[in-house]
C-alpha cells in the first residue's frame, strides 16, 4: 500500500523520475535565493522579475518555437534588463519601487501573452505560463542541474557578504568594496534561477517554489543558514508530495507542488516555533506586563 502510493509512481514511470530530479534541482537552487529575497524584503521584486522574463522567453519562442535555448536566452536578457532597470526607475523618479514594479510586471505579462499568441496555441501559452514539469527533456534537466550547481557554489562563496548586505548594507559599504558586486551577483543568480525554473514551473509559478519555502522557514529558524536548510527541505518535500498527489488524482503537477509548499507555509505560520501564531497566544499576557 505504502509502496504503491509513495514509490511505485516513480519506479514505474520515467516522466515521474525526470520530474522529481528537475524539482529537486529547482528546490536546491531556488530556495537560497528565495531566503535572501525574503530577508531583503524583495519578494515582490522576485515576482516582477519572473514576469519580466515572459516577454523575453516569448520573443525566443516567436523566433524558434518551443526551443529551450532560444527561450532561455530571451528570458535571461529580459530578466537582467528588468533587474537593472527597476532599481534605476525607483532611483531617478518619484515613483516608489513597489509601484514601478507592479507597473512593470503587468506590462510584461500582457506583452508576453500577446507575443506567444501571435504564433502559438493555447497549449503553448499554458506551457510558458505554468511550465511542464512532467515533460522535462534531457536538455532541460541538464539546464536545471547546472543552474542549481552554480547557485549553490556562488551562494556558498558569497555567503558572508550576502548576509551583511541584507542585515546592514551601510556597514558593508564602509568596510568593503564588495557591496555592489554582491548585489548584482545576487540579482544575476535570481534571474538565472527564474529562467531555469520557468521550464518546469512556468513564469507564473516559479516564484512560488522560491518564496513559499523561504517564508515558511522564517518560522522555524533564527539563523540564515538554518533558514536555507529548512527551506530546501520544505521545497523538496513539497515537490514529492505535489507530484504524488497530482499523479494519484490526475491533477496538474506544477500547481500541486506550489500548493503543497503553500500548505507547508500555512502550517509553519500556525505552529512554527519562531514567532508562529500558536507561540504568540500564551506569551501575550507576559508582554503586557
Amino acid at each position: 500500500m505504502i509502496w504503491e502510493t509513495l514509490v511505485e509512481p516513480f519506479a514505474a514511470y520515467g516522466f515521474m523520475r525526470r520530474a522529481l530530479v528537475g524539482c529537486i534541482a529547482v528546490s536546491l537552487g531556488a530556495t537560497p535565493i528565495g531566503v535572501f529575497l525574503l530577508l531583503r524584503r524583495m519578494s515582490l521584486t522576485g515576482d516582477a522579475m519572473a514576469h519580466a522574463i515572459l516577454p523575453g522567453a516569448a520573443v525566443g519562442y516567436l523566433i524558434a518555437g518551443l526551443s529551450l535555448t532560444a527561450m532561455t536566452v530571451g528570458g535571461l536578457i529580459a530578466g537582467m534588463a528588468v533587474a537593472l532597470f527597476s532599481g534605476f526607475v525607483s532611483r531617478v523618479t518619484p515613483l516608489r519601487e513597489d509601484a514601478s514594479l507592479a507597473a512593470f510586471y503587468l506590462i510584461s505579462l500582457a506583452a508576453g501573452v500577446l507575443i506567444v499568441s501571435i504564433r502559438g496555441s493555447n497549449v503553448d501559452l499554458m506551457h510558458v505560463l505554468f511550465g511542464t514539469v512532467l515533460a522535462l527533456d534531457d536538455a532541460a534537466l541538464i539546464l536545471l542541474c547546472v543552474v542549481a550547481s552554480i547557485t549553490v557554489i556562488a551562494v556558498a562563496l558569497l555567503f558572508r557578504p550576502l548576509v551583511l548586505e541584507c542585515a546592514d548594507p551601510q556597514f558593508l559599504r564602509t568596510v568593503s568594496g564588495l557591496s555592489a558586486v554582491t548585489h548584482f551577483t545576487f540579482l544575476a543568480l535570481a534571474v538565472l534561477n527564474l529562467v531555469g525554473g520557468f521550464h518546469a514551473f512556468g513564469t507564473l509559478m516559479i516564484v512560488g517554489i522560491m518564496i513559499l519555502p523561504a517564508a515558511a522557514a522564517r518560522f522555524w529558524s533564527v539563523s540564515v543558514g538554518g533558514m536555507i536548510v529548512v527551506a530546501a527541505h520544505i521545497a523538496v518535500s513539497a515537490s514529492v508530495a505535489g507530484l504524488l498527489f497530482s499523479y494519484h488524482h490526475s491533477l496538474p503537477s506544477g500547481p500541486a507542488i506550489i500548493l503543497a509548499a503553500g500548505v507547508a507555509y500555512a502550517l509553519s505560520l500556525v505552529i512554527g516555533p519562531v514567532g508562529g501564531l500558536a507561540r504568540q497566544i500564551p506569551s501575550r499576557p507576559r508582554t503586557q506586563l
Binding site: L39, L157, L158, R160, P161, V163, L164, C166, A167, D168, P169, Q170, F171, L172, R173, T174, V175, S176, L178, R218, S221, V222, S223, V224, G226, M227
Partner: protein, 247 residues
C-alpha cells in the same frame, strides 16, 4: 600635533543641494570632538562624507595619519534590519571583516576577543540572542561592541545616545573615554550639550557653514548657538541662497 584628517573646502549634499558648505577644519589625531548644531545643519551628512559613502560636491577630506580603511562608523538609528535573523555574537563578529574578509576563518583567538568585547559592554549571557529580541539600549551596546572589535583608529558616531537608557549611557560614555585614552580619534554627533561639556574636550559647531571649532567651552557659547540657529533658518527660508559654490 598632526591632523587625523582635514576638511579642505568640503561641500557635501544631495541632488546638488549642499548640506555642508565649503568646510575647512582640521581634526587632530587622538582628539575627542562633538559635532553640534541645529537640525538640518549637515551633521550626519558630514560623517557620511568622512566615511566616503557620500562623494563630495566640492573640496575633499584629506587623510593625514588615518585613512578610510581605519574608520569605524555607527550611523544614526542604524540601518540594520532589526528583524534580521542574526545573533548578537555574529553581529559583533562582523567587526572582524577587515581582518578576515569574505572567506577568512574566525579562529579561537578572534572568538575570544569577540566574547571579551561582549563582556565589556555588559551583554554577557545574551550572545546567542537574535537581535530582534534586544531592547534599544542593548542593540546600541551590541553596535558599540562591533565598533570595539573593528579596532578602528577613527570612530564616527551619529547620535549614539538617542533612545538609550541611562545605564547604557554610562557604559557607552566609558567606552568613548577609553577610546580617547587609547588616542583614537572620535567624532560624535550629539544633541545634549551637557553631555558634550562633560565628556568632549573639543566641539565643532555646524550650521551648513562652520560656526566654530575648538575647545568646547569656547564653542558652546550662547552667542554661537544663536548664530547657528539664525544661519539655519536663513537657509530654510531662502534655499536658493544656499546653492553658492555648487555646480
Amino acid at each position: 600635533m598632526s591632523p587625523a584628517f582635514s576638511f579642505q573646502g568640503l561641500t557635501l549634499g544631495y541632488d546638488r543641494t549642499p548640506a555642508v558648505r565649503d568646510l575647512r577644519a582640521e581634526i587632530a589625531e587622538g582628539s575627542l570632538t562633538a559635532i553640534v548644531g541645529p537640525n538640518g545643519a549637515g551633521k550626519s551628512t558630514l560623517l557620511k562624507g568622512v566615511t566616503g559613502i557620500l562623494k563630495p560636491l566640492g573640496g575633499r577630506v584629506c587623510f593625514g595619519s588615518a585613512d578610510r580603511s581605519g574608520i569605524g562608523y555607527l550611523p544614526q538609528h542604524s540601518e540594520i534590519d532589526r528583524s534580521f535573523p542574526i545573533s548578537v555574537v555574529d553581529l559583533v563578529a562582523m567587526g572582524l571583516w577587515r581582518e578576515i574578509g569574505p572567506f577568512g576563518r574566525v579562529d579561537g583567538a578572534r572568538r575570544a576577543r569577540v566574547a571579551e568585547t561582549i563582556a565589556a559592554v555588559g551583554l554577557t549571557g545574551l550572545e546567542a540572542r537574535p537581535i530582534a529580541t534586544l531592547s534599544g539600549g542593548q542593540m546600541q551596546r551590541t553596535l558599540f561592541a562591533r565598533l570595539l572589535v573593528q579596532d578602528a583608529k577613527v570612530v564616527l558616531l551619529d547620535e549614539p545616545f538617542a533612545a538609550v537608557d541611562s545605564g547604557t549611557l554610562v557604559y557607552l560614555l566609558k567606552i568613548i573615554d577609553r577610546w580617547h585614552v587609547e588616542r583614537r580619534t572620535v567624532l560624535a554627533v550629539l544633541h545634549d550639550h551637557d553631555t558634550v561639556r562633560a565628556h568632549f574636550p573639543d566641539t565643532l559647531m555646524l550650521a551648513r557653514d562652520l560656526v566654530a571649532h575648538g575647545p568646547t567651552p569656547e564653542v558652546l557659547t550662547a552667542e554661537n548657538q544663536f548664530r547657528a540657529r539664525q544661519m539655519c533658518e536663513a537657509c530654510a527660508e531662502t534655499p536658493h541662497t544656499c546653492i553658492r559654490g555648487a555646480a
